[in-house]
C-alpha cells in the first residue's frame, strides 16, 4: 500500500492509502475531517472543494496519492479559536446558506477566487463559482456574501 506524507491544515500527516482512494475520502474517512462534503461525486457540484498548494481543487476528482507532498487546506482550517474567517462571517451575515451542504466548497472556492481577484464584480463572482452548485439559495445571497467577504479580507 502506498504511503503518503503531506501537510493538512498546517499539520504534517503520514498515512498509508490504497491507490484508488480519492483525496476527499482520505480527508473524511482517514483523517476524520468531515467538513469537506461529497455532493455529486462526479466533479460537478463543488461541495468537495479544498485547496491543494493554494489552488481550489475538486477533491472527489483527485487521488490521495496525487497529493503526496502537497499542502492541503480544508474548511476546518479557517476559523481561529472560534472566530470565523472573514469569508465565513460574510456567509453568515448575508444569510448565504440554507441547508449548508454546499457551503464548505463555496467558501473554499470563494477564498481562492478573492485571492486572485481581491475586488470581484458580481459577474466575476458568478463566473468564479461556476463549479459550485447550490440547490437552496438561488445564489443571490452567496454572490453578495462573496463580495462582502472580499471586502472583509481587504480590510
Amino acid at each position: 500500500m502506498p504511503t503518503i506524507s503531506l501537510t493538512v491544515n498546517g499539520q504534517p500527516v503520514t498515512e498509508e492509502v490504497d491507490a484508488p482512494t480519492l483525496l476527499v475520502k482520505f480527508l473524511r474517512e482517514q483523517l476524520k475531517l468531515t467538513g469537506t462534503h461529497v455532493g455529486c461525486d462526479t466533479s460537478q457540484c463543488g461541495a468537495c472543494v479544498v485547496h491543494v498548494n493554494g489552488e481550489a481543487v475538486k477533491s472527489c476528482t483527485m487521488l490521495a496519492v496525487q497529493a503526496d507532498g502537497a499542502e492541503i487546506l480544508t474548511i476546518e482550517s479557517l476559523a481561529n479559536n472560534g472566530t470565523l474567517h472573514p469569508m465565513q462571517q460574510a456567509f453568515h451575515d448575508k444569510h448565504a446558506l440554507q441547508c449548508g451542504f454546499c457551503t464548505p466548497g463555496m467558501v473554499m472556492a470563494s477564498i481562492a477566487l478573492v485571492r486572485d481577484n481581491p475586488d470581484p464584480s458580481e459577474d466575476d463572482v458568478r463566473q468564479g463559482l461556476e463549479g459550485n452548485l447550490c440547490r437552496c439559495t438561488g445564489y443571490q445571497n452567496i454572490v453578495q456574501a462573496v463580495r462582502a467577504g472580499a471586502k472583509n479580507m481587504r480590510d
Partner: protein, 265 residues
C-alpha cells in the same frame, strides 16, 4: 474504482519505460476525465503512471513565430500565462472557458487532446492554428492528430511532450457551451496567417473538422459578411439530447461569424 498500481516517474524516458513494462498501463495527466471514467469502471488500467512530477512537461516557451506549451500545463496556467495572453489571446480565452475554475486548476492540455473528447475545446485550436504535437518519439501535424471520436494518431505508450502553436496574425474562438458541463455544443476557432485562413469546428461532429468553403471565402475577404450565406451540411453532425444536427449546423455558422468578428477586433 478498481485497484491499480501507482507510479510517479521523474522523467519522460522513465515514464515511457514504465508503460512498456505494464500489462495495461495508462498515463495520468490532470485526471479530470480519467478519474471520473475509472470511478464509473469504464476504464480499469492495471497501472497508472502519474506525469505530474515531470517538470519538463510544464514549460511554456516562445520564439518569434511560435509558443510551445508542455503537455502537463494546466488550463488555468495557459489562461494566466502573460506570454500566451499577449501573443495568442485566442488560446488563453479558450483555456479560460474550459469546465470551471477548479477543473482548470487540474486539467491539462496534453490530457485533453490525448482523450480527444468530441466536445473538448483544444482540438479546434490545434487544427485552426496548424499546431504540431511533439511526443517522446516524433512530431505530429495537428491536421493528422485527431483521427476519430476519442481516437488520436498516438501509438501505444506514446507520450505528449508539448504542443507548438504558430502565432497567427489574427485568431479567435467562439463557443456555445453546454450550460451544465461547459463542454462545447459547438465551438469554432478561426485563424488568419499571412498565407492561409483556417476554420476548425469542435463539438459539432464526431471529432474536430475544418470548413474549406468558409476558409476560401475568408481568404478572399476576412469579414463576417464573407461567410454570411455559408451553411455546413447537418448530415454527419452529432445528435444528442442537447442539440440536433441541424441546430449544431446553424450554431457553426453563427459561431464562425462571431469568431471572425472577434478576430478582427
Amino acid at each position: 474504482m478498481y485497484d491499480f498500481r501507482y507510479h510517479r516517474p521523474a522523467t519522460i524516458s522513465e515514464a515511457v519505460d514504465l508503460f512498456r513494462q505494464c500489462d495495461d498501463g495508462q498515463y495520468l495527466a490532470g485526471g479530470q476525465t480519467l478519474i471520473p471514467v475509472m470511478k464509473q469502471r469504464l476504464a480499469s488500467p492495471s497501472d497508472l503512471i502519474d506525469l505530474a512530477r515531470i517538470d519538463e512537461l510544464k514549460d511554456i516557451s516562445a520564439t518569434e513565430s511560435a509558443i510551445t506549451i508542455g503537455g502537463m500545463t494546466t488550463h488555468a496556467a495557459i489562461a494566466a500565462s502573460s506570454e500566451v495572453r499577449s501573443r495568442l489571446a485566442a488560446l488563453a480565452d479558450l483555456a479560460s472557458g474550459i469546465g470551471d475554475p477548479h477543473v482548470r486548476n487540474r486539467g491539462t492540455l496534453g490530457g485533453s487532446i490525448a482523450n480527444n473528447d468530441p466536445t473538448a475545446d483544444y482540438p479546434a485550436a490545434i487544427v485552426a492554428l496548424g499546431a504540431t504535437i511533439i511526443t517522446d518519439r516524433r512530431r505530429i501535424e495537428g491536421d493528422a492528430f485527431f483521427t476519430n471520436i476519442f481516437e488520436t494518431a498516438l501509438e501505444e505508450g506514446e507520450l505528449i511532450r508539448a504542443v507548438e502553436f504558430p502565432i497567427p496574425e489574427r485568431a479567435a474562438y467562439a463557443k456555445f457551451p453546454n450550460p451544465a458541463s461547459r463542454y462545447a455544443i459547438a465551438g469554432v476557432m478561426v485563424s488568419k496567417f499571412a498565407d492561409i485562413v483556417r476554420v476548425a469546428v469542435t463539438g459539432a461532429g464526431p471529432f474536430v473538422f475544418r470548413v474549406p468553403d468558409m476558409e476560401a471565402a475568408l481568404a478572399r475577404d476576412f469579414s463576417p459578411e464573407a461567410i454570411e450565406k455559408l451553411q455546413i451540411p447537418a448530415g454527419d453532425l452529432n445528435a444528442d439530447l442537447h442539440a440536433s444536427p441541424a441546430y449544431r449546423a446553424h450554431l457553426v455558422s453563427i459561431l464562425a461569424k462571431r469568431a471572425v468578428q472577434a478576430a478582427k477586433e
